[in-house]
């Protein structure tokens, strides 16, 4: 099944499926309501026809002054099909349900997304930074991120005389 067929299939069977978006080029994706994302995730994993049993990638997107988006790339081993899921979050509150209990693979990806993008995952067992040091300030992949001039006394700014 391609994304369109998947969308048509699940739309009636579970609530929370908002829309399907098809960009000019590249892959289409399915938009999911953040409030029901966890249920939809379980459904996607367990449904006979879908069986999206692998979570390949979790990505955070920053749309300044607009919204946050979390992108999930899912893969079904059984049916050899893939789907892209997007969950939009309000700008003021970048929190989404964690799906680490649906796919354990999401655990580290969510930590990374929290670390670099600052999106929080509700119910995550270990919501700490994974790549940056624990005392790092800010989330580097945000569009408004300002690079620190120093970290623990190590200056970043290069001396012009060098």
């Amino acid at each position: 099944m391609n994304t369109k067929e998947i969308f048509e299939d699940i739309q009636g069977r579970i609530s929370g499926v908002v829309s399907i978006e098809e960009p000019e080029i590249g892959d289409p994706w399915i938009q999911i309501d953040p409030a029901q994302w966890h249920d939809v995730a379980l459904f996607l994993r367990d449904d006979e026809k879908l069986r999206f049993n692998m979570c390949l990638l979790v990505t955070g997107l920053d749309w300044p002054d607009e919204k946050w988006t979390v992108v999930y790339h899912l893969h079904s081993q059984e049916h050899n099909q893939r789907v892209t899921i997007k969950v939009d979050l309000p700008r003021t509150e970048p929190i989404v349900d964690s799906v680490h209990d649906v796919w354990s693979a999401a655990n580290w990806h969510e930590r990374e997304t929290f670390d670099l993008m600052g999106i929080e995952f509700r119910g995550h067992p270990n919501p700490t930074r994974i790549l940056c040091p624990d005392d790092w300030v800010g989330h580097p992949l945000r569009k408004d991120y300002e690079f620190p001039t120093e970290y623990r006394g190590i200056p970043y700014e290069r001396n012009e005389k060098i």
Binding site: I25, G26, N53, L56, V71, T84, W103, W108, L131
Partner: protein, 393 residues
């Protein structure tokens, strides 16, 4: 029984085993890494140990973090290409290919046949080189140093071949957007085929030296067993997945670059020496994959004889793909390498995300290590064949 009851029962069993009551034992935390000979880079695993037995393990990563994704947003598409070399530096060609393919799919570029075949040849050779390291370092982990040097000897020859075609020995930047940087030089094909002949003979030597060594089998079989369900759950890909007996290879099942033209087998773990999905199975999958890659290279050379077109498509100097996004996953030596690029129509990517296979494969350590011994922990970490440059990106 509830989990707690099971744990209690385990405790009782263990107490009977070690004769608790007579001896008071205490657990201790011990840091394996970031400077440790067999963490394959700067991985740090915090172990809680009861004597030699690991009861808890927490991998800590990020020592090599360069925020490649941010760099990807700040540079235009072509300029980011060399940075992909630095992620999985043992399979830099594969990384180049993954990134080139995702940008091409955004830009809608058609790749000439000749370039495609050259790409296949070079990434398969790089797969052999990468698996050679996996084989050698796994020998090191088990305490045998000689296989490492033998693997290094062959890898040295391969690097010389790479140097002949692109001038670099580690970070190649050879596969570029639109094709490959330059065509194979005169006589390169013969050198490669000559090397493959020698390599296949030596492959048997490796097995006699390490794979079928009884001590090695005792060390690597039956430990670090991963069930197929765990594989799916943790998103394991590549030899980690195939080691558990799941026949899945992106090259065969979701073909790209026309891999379906080639005749090759996808080796899977059989549980030959112990349990299905143990460290030996994963190791063996890598060993067999080397031979399969050699097979593909030979076939690709045959096709290259008659291949049309140049080694590179016409590529505009500045890319400005339309608004859209693409995810491309390719079969890297370590598993599925995914590049997810989001374009907003400007010359830089709006968001670039990398799925490093090592990153996902590493996350299962937390589950695999408890219950093993320290020596096993080293073997399990070795069997995941991680490259920290890719884990931390």
């Amino acid at each position: 029984m509830s989990e707690r009851e099971i744990r209690l029962q385990d405790d009782i069993d263990r107490d009977v085993l070690i004769g608790a009551g007579d001896i008071a034992t205490d657990e201790m935390y011990i840091n394996m890494g970031p400077q440790h000979p067999s963490t394959h880079g700067v991985l740090r695993v915090l172990l809680r140990t009861d004597g030699e037995i690991v009861t808890e393990a927490h991998p800590h990563i990020g020592y090599l973090h360069r925020c490649a994704e941010k760099i990807g947003e700040c540079l235009d598409y072509v300029k980011f290409q060399p940075y992909t070399d630095r992620m999985d530096y043992l399979a830099a060609m594969n990384n180049n290919l993954g990134y080139a393919m995702v940008v091409e799919s955004l830009a809608g570029l058609e790749i000439p046949e000749r370039a495609t075949l050259l790409r296949i040849i070079i990434v398969e050779l790089n797969r052999i080189a990468s698996h050679l390291i996996a084989f050698g370092t796994y020998g090191l982990d088990s305490g045998a140093m000689t296989p490492f040097f033998h693997a290094w000897r062959e890898r040295e020859e391969m690097l010389t071949l790479f140097e002949k075609i692109c001038g670099a020995r580690l970070t190649y930047n050879y596969v570029c957007i639109g094709g490959v940087v330059n065509d194979a030089p005169e006589g390169w094909k013969d050198k490669v085929l000559d090397f493959l002949d020698r390599f296949e003979k030596r492959w048997t030597e490796y097995n006699n030296l390490l794979s079928y060594n009884r001590i090695f089998i005792r060390r690597s079989a039956n430990i670090g067993v991963i069930t197929p369900e765990e594989c799916y759950d943790y998103g394991l890909t590549g030899p980690m997945l195939r080691g558990s007996g799941i026949s899945w290879d992106l090259r065969r099942d979701r073909p790209y670059l026309g891999y379906d033209r080639f005749d090759f087998d996808v080796p899977v773990g059989q549980g030959e020496m112990g349990t299905l999905g143990d460290c030996w199975d994963r190791y063996w999958v890598r060993m067999v994959e080397m031979k399969e890659s050699a097979k593909i290279v030979r076939q690709a050379f045959d096709l290259l004889e008659t291949a049309e077109g140049s080694h590179k498509a016409k590529v505009p100097k500045v890319f400005k793909p339309k608004v859209g996004e693409a995810y491309v996953g390719i079969e890297n030596p370590r598993g599925e390498l995914g590049f997810y690029v989001l374009s907003d129509g400007s010359k830089n990517a709006y968001r670039l995300r990398v799925r490093g296979p090592s990153f996902c494969n590493l996350s299962i350590l937390e589950k695999l290590l408890p219950g093993t011994m320290i020596a096993d922990a080293v073997m399990v970490i070795g069997s995941t064949d991680i490259v920290l440059g890719e884990v931390d990106r």
